[in-house]
C-alpha cells in the first residue's frame, strides 16, 4: 500500500531533487554553488520571516499591504519583487561571465547542465520577473495619479495580477530549492524541451511560471487599458495625457494582444508533455517551427512592452529636468502608436534562419528597419527638449542621457541584424546577446531606474541619496560597456551564445574584460541597495512632504508626498497638457477647496493573495505530478472567484472630516516650506515646494 500512496502524494519527488542531497553525494563546485543558492533562498526566507515576527509586523503586512487593493501599494510591491528578482538574475549573469572567463580550454567551475539552468533562469527572470514587474509597478503607481484618478478600473483584479506574478516568481525561486530549472533557455524551444529530451521537472517549472506570469500580465494590460480609456479626470483628453500615460496605454494594448500567443505556446507545450499531444514533437506530425512562430508572435511585441514605458519615463524626466515642455509631443504620441502597431509585424526576424523563403525574410527585414524610424523621431524629440533648456544633471537625467547614447548604438547593431543575410552570419552568437542587452539595459533598466529615482520622493516622501545614486549610475554605465562591448567582438568572431566552455585562447582577454564589467554591474546593484539604506537613514533631512521636489508638470506632483490613500481630495479638472505647471503659474495650487466630501474607496480583499497562493500550489503540483495538489488548487481558485462574486460589502468610506484633517496637515506643511530654486533641488533645502518662475 505504501508503494502506491507515497508516489501519489509526492509525485515524482525524490531525495535527489534537493540540491543539498545532490551536493552531499557529489561535492563538486557546481553542485555546491547550486546548494549554496538553495540555502540562500531558505535562509533568506527564514531571516525575513524571523525579522517580521520579531518586529511583530505580520498583521500589519497582511492587512496594510498584501490584501491592499490600493494601486500605489500594489505598485510598490511589484517593484520590491522586481528588485528581489533582479538581484538573483544579476548574480546569475555574473556567474556565467565568471564561468566563461575561467573556462578557456578548461572546464571552469560550473557544470554544463548547471550553466544551462543559469542562462535559462537569468533570461526568464530578467524578462518576466524583473522587467515586467518593474514596469507594471511603475505604471501602477504613477499612471492613476497622472490621469487624476483615485484608482485603477479593477482594483481587486490588480491585486490578483500582482499575486499571480508573485506566485510565478515564487515558483522560479522554488526551483532552486526543490528540483532544478529548465535548461532550454528563456524561449524554451522544442523539441529540446519535449519530454523525450527534457524529462525532468525543469521545463515544467518554466512552463507554469511563464504561464502564470503571462496570465497576470494579460489581466494587468486589460486593467490599465480600461483605466486609461475610461477613468481620466475631467478635461484630460487623450492628447492632453502625459507621455508616460500614452506609453502605458500602448504597452497595455500590447499586453492584451501579445500575451495570448505566449499562453498558447506554453499551453500547447504543456499538452505535449503532460497528455502526449504532438504539437512540437519530432514524430507523428509535430511541427516545432510553429512553436518558434507562436513564441515570437509574443516575443517581439514583448520587446516593446518592455521599452515603451521606459520611453515614457525618459519623456517625463527630460522635460522636467530641462524645465521645458516636451518637444514634439504629437510626434512622440504618433511614434509610440506606430511602434505599437509595427511591433506586430516583425516577429520573423527572430528566426530568419528557420528556412522560409528569402522574400518572406526580406519583407520582415524591411518592417524591422522601419521601426527604427519612429524610434529615431523620439530620440530627436528628447534632444530638442533639452536644447536651450535649463538642464540639471540629476540621477534620472544622467540615466536618460546614458540611455540616448547607448540605445542608439544598440539600434545600429539591430539594423545590422535586420538584414537576413547578415543575420545568417551572426545568429546564435554573442553578437546577438550583446545586441539585445544593448537594447534592454538602457532601454528598459535605465528607464526603470530613472523612473525609480524620479518618483521615489513622491512615493515615500523623501529624496534618494544623490551621491550613491551617481556611484550606482557610473557602475551601471561603465559596467554595461565593459560587459557587453567585448561580446560584439566575440560574437563577430563566431563565439556561440550559451557556451559553457571555450576552446579559443584568443577569446580570453575579451572574456576577462566582460567579466570585470559583470562585476561592476553587481557593484551597481549593491550601490543601489546602499543608496536605499543611506536614504532611509537620512530621510528626515530629505523630506519633500509638500510633494513637488522637481518643479513637476503633471498632476502627480500636485498632491502630497506620499499621497493620501484617496490620491485627490477633489478630483482635478484640467485644461492643458501641463496642468500642474500651468496651475502653479496661474493661481495658488495649495489653496484649500471650498468643501471636502466623503470619499468611497474599495475595501481590502484577500482574493488576490488567496488566488496567488493557490495558483502557486496548483502549479507546483503540476510540476511534480502531485495531481491531488493541482486539482485542489484549481478547484479552490474557482471557489475563491465565485465567493468573491458574492461579496457585497466591498467599499469603505473616508469621511469628509478625515479628508479635511489629512489635507490641512499637508497644506500647512506646504505653507511653511520654503520654495527653492532649481539649483538647490538636490540639497536638503528641497522640502518639496518649487519656486515658481515664469
Amino acid at each position: 500500500m505504501t508503494d502506491g500512496i507515497l508516489p501519489a502524494v509526492l509525485g515524482r519527488f525524490e531525495w535527489q531533487s534537493l540540491p543539498f542531497v545532490r551536493a552531499w553525494e557529489h561535492p563538486n563546485a557546481s553542485e555546491i554553488v547550486g546548494a549554496g543558492a538553495g540555502a540562500v533562498v531558505i535562509i533568506g526566507a527564514i531571516l525575513v520571516a524571523a525579522l517580521i515576527t520579531r518586529l511583530g509586523k505580520w498583521r500589519y503586512l497582511w492587512s496594510e499591504w498584501f490584501t491592499s487593493v490600493d494601486h500605489k501599494k500594489i505598485g510598490i510591491m511589484y517593484i520590491v519583487l522586481a528588485f528581489v528578482m533582479l538581484s538573483r538574475a544579476l548574480i546569475e549573469g555574473v556567474l556565467m561571465r565568471m564561468q566563461q572567463a575561467t573556462a578557456v580550454n578548461s572546464p571552469g567551475f560550473i557544470a554544463p547542465d548547471h550553466f544551462a539552468q543559469l542562462f535559462s533562469t537569468h533570461g526568464t527572470i530578467m524578462i518576466f520577473f524583473m522587467a515586467m514587474p518593474f514596469l507594471t509597478g511603475l505604471i501602477n503607481y504613477v499612471m492613476p495619479l497622472q490621469i487624476g484618478s483615485r484608482d485603477v478600473a479593477f482594483p481587486v483584479l490588480n491585486s490578483v495580477s500582482l499575486w499571480l506574478t508573485a506566485a510565478a516568481a515564487a515558483l522560479v525561486m522554488a526551483s532552486l530549492v526543490v528540483g532544478r530549472f529548465s535548461t532550454g533557455g528563456w524561449s524554451g524551444y522544442p523539441p529540446y524541451t519535449e519530454l523525450a529530451f527534457s524529462p525532468g521537472v525543469g521545463t515544467d517549472y518554466w512552463i507554469w511560471a511563464v504561464t502564470l506570469g503571462s496570465v497576470g500580465s494579460t489581466l494587468t494590460g486589460i486593467n490599465f487599458a480600461v483605466t486609461i480609456y475610461k477613468m481620466r479626470c475631467a478635461g484630460m483628453r487623450l492628447m492632453r495625457m502625459p507621455l508616460f500615460v500614452w506609453t502605458a496605454l500602448c504597452t497595455s494594448i500590447l499586453m492584451i494582444f501579445a500575451m495570448p500567443p505566449l499562453t498558447v505556446a506554453t499551453a500547447l507545450l504543456a499538452l505535449d508533455r503532460y497528455l502526449d499531444f504532438h504539437f512540437f514533437t519530432n514524430d507523428l506530425g509535430g511541427n516545432m517551427m510553429n512553436y518558434a512562430n507562436l513564441f515570437w508572435l509574443f516575443g517581439h511585441p514583448e520587446v516593446y512592452i518592455l521599452i515603451l514605458p521606459a520611453f515614457g519615463v525618459f519623456s517625463e524626466v527630460v522635460s522636467t529636468f530641462s524645465s521645458k515642455q516636451l518637444y514634439g509631443y504629437t510626434s512622440l504620441v504618433i511614434a509610440t502608436a506606430v511602434i505599437t502597431v509595427l511591433s506586430f509585424t516583425v516577429w520573423v526576424h527572430h528566426f530568419f534562419t528557420m528556412g522560409q523563403a528569402a522574400d518572406i525574410n526580406a519583407a520582415f527585414g524591411i518592417a524591422t528597419m522601419a521601426i527604427g524610424v519612429p524610434t529615431g523621431v523620439k530620440i530627436y524629440d528628447w534632444i530638442w527638449t533639452m536644447f536651450l533648456g535649463r538642464v540639471r544633471f540629476t540621477v534620472p537625467m544622467l540615466f536618460s542621457l546614458a540611455f540616448m547614447m547607448t540605445f542608439v548604438l544598440g539600434g545600429f547593431t539591430g539594423i545590422l541584424l535586420a538584414f537576413p543575410p547578415l543575420d545568417y552570419l551572426a545568429h546564435n552568437t554573442l553578437f546577438l546577446v550583446a545586441h539585445f542587452h544593448n537594447m534592454l539595459i538602457p532601454g528598459l533598466l535605465y528607464g526603470m531606474l530613472a523612473g525609480y529615482h524620479y518618483w521615489f520622493p513622491k512615493a515615500f516622501g523623501f529624496r534618494l541619496d544623490e551621491k550613491w545614486g551617481r556611484i550606482s549610475f557610473g557602475c551601471w554605465v561603465l559596467g554595461f560597456y565593459l560587459a557587453f562591448m567585448p561580446l560584439y567582438v566575440l560574437g563577430a568572431s563566431g563565439m556561440a551564445r550559451r557556451t559553457q566552455a571555450v576552446f579559443e585562447p584568443s577569446f580570453r582577454p575579451w572574456l576577462y574584460v566582460a567579466g570585470i564589467g559583470a562585476l561592476l554591474l553587481a557593484g551597481a546593484l549593491a550601490s543601489l541597495f546602499v543608496q536605499l539604506w543611506v536614504s532611509v537613514r537620512d530621510r528626515k533631512a530629505n523630506r519633500v512632504f509638500a510633494g513637488d521636489p522637481w518643479d513637476g508638470r503633471g498632476l502627480e506632483w500636485s498632491i502630497s508626498a506620499p499621497p493620501p490613500e484617496y490620491n485627490f481630495a477633489v478630483l482635478p479638472q484640467v485644461n492643458s497638457r501641463h496642468p500642474f505647471h500651468d496651475g502653479k503659474r496661474q493661481d495658488d495650487p495649495y489653496a484649500p477647496p471650498r468643501a471636502y466630501e466623503d470619499i468611497t474607496l474599495p475595501r481590502n480583499s484577500m482574493t488576490g493573495p488567496a488566488i496567488g497562493i493557490l495558483a502557486a500550489a496548483a502549479a507546483f503540483g503540476l510540476v511534480w505530478h502531485m495531481w491531488w495538489l493541482a486539482i485542489i488548487g484549481a478547484l479552490a481558485i474557482s471557489a475563491v472567484v465565485i465567493a468573491r462574486s458574492f461579496a457585497r460589502d466591498v467599499e469603505h468610506t473616508i469621511s469628509a472630516d478625515e479628508v479635511q484633517r489629512t489635507e490641512q496637515r499637508w497644506l500647512r506643511a506646504a505653507a511653511n516650506a520654503a520654495p527653492i530654486p532649481r539649483e538647490l533641488e538636490m540639497t536638503s533645502a528641497n522640502q518639496g515646494l518649487a519656486e515658481v518662475s515664469a
Partner: protein
C-alpha cells in the same frame, strides 16, 4: 460611456444603485477587452489547426471523423441558447418578473448542457475510432481547439448557475445586473467562436 450609452448597451441601472453608470461602463468595456484577448487565443489555435491539418500521419482524417448532422444539431442548440439568453437580457432590462428571468436563464443552461453532452458524445465516438490526440499532429490540434470552446461553454454554464443563485440571493442589484450583462457577452461571444469552428473545422473537413 455616458448613462445613455450604457442603457443602449442593454443595461438599465436604478437610481439608487451602488455602481455608477461610469463604473458599469468600465466593467463592461473591460470585459470586452478580455473577450478580445481570448479571441486572440482562439485565432492562434485556428492558425495552428490550419498548419497541422495535413499532419494526419496515416491516422484518421477529418473526412473520416466529422459528421454533418450532429454538428448541425449542436449549432442549432447553441444558436438557440444565444437567442434565449437574449430574451433573458430583455427580461432583466425591462423589469420582468424574476421568475421569467430565471426561466430564460434556465432554458439557456439546458441548451448549453445539451450542446456539451452532444459534443462529448462526438468525442467519445472519435476516441473509439482511435482518433485520440496522441495519434497525430492533426488530432492534437483538433483536441486543443474544439474542447477549449467546449470548456468555455462549461464555464459559461457554471456561471449561469452562479448568476441564478445570485438573482435569488440579491435580486437584481447593480453588480448582478453588470455580471449578467458580462455573462451575456461571454455567451454570445462563444457563438461567434462556434461559427468559426463549424465552418473552418467541421464543414471544411467534410468538403470533398
Amino acid at each position: 460611456m455616458s448613462a445613455d450609452e450604457v442603457r443602449q448597451a442593454g443595461l438599465e441601472l436604478g437610481r439608487n444603485d451602488l455602481l455608477t453608470h461610469e463604473q458599469a461602463g468600465s466593467a463592461i468595456f473591460g470585459f470586452w477587452v478580455f473577450l478580445m484577448s481570448d479571441a486572440v487565443i482562439f485565432a492562434l489555435l485556428f492558425a495552428t489547426y490550419g498548419v497541422m491539418l495535413p499532419a494526419t500521419v496515416g491516422g484518421p482524417t477529418p473526412a473520416d471523423e466529422y459528421k454533418l448532422v450532429p454538428t448541425l444539431i449542436e449549432t442549432v442548440l447553441l444558436l438557440t441558447s444565444s437567442f434565449t439568453f437574449g430574451l433573458a437580457s430583455v427580461a432583466m432590462k425591462h423589469g420582468a418578473s424574476r421568475r421569467q428571468l430565471l426561466g430564460w436563464l434556465g432554458v439557456t443552461l439546458i441548451l448549453g448542457i445539451g450542446f456539451l453532452g452532444m459534443e462529448l458524445h462526438d468525442f467519445m465516438i472519435m476516441f473509439s475510432d482511435g482518433a485520440v490526440p496522441s495519434r497525430s499532429g492533426y488530432l492534437s490540434s483538433f483536441f486543443a481547439l474544439v474542447p477549449l470552446h467546449g470548456l468555455h461553454v462549461f464555464f459559461g454554464s457554471v456561471w449561469i448557475v452562479v448568476m441564478m443563485v445570485q438573482v435569488l440571493t440579491f435580486g437584481l442589484d447593480a453588480r448582478v445586473k453588470v455580471n449578467l450583462q458580462r455573462l451575456g457577452l461571454f455567451w454570445h461571444f462563444l457563438d461567434v467562436v462556434w461559427i468559426a469552428i463549424f465552418s473552418v473545422v467541421y464543414l471544411q473537413g467534410m468538403i470533398q
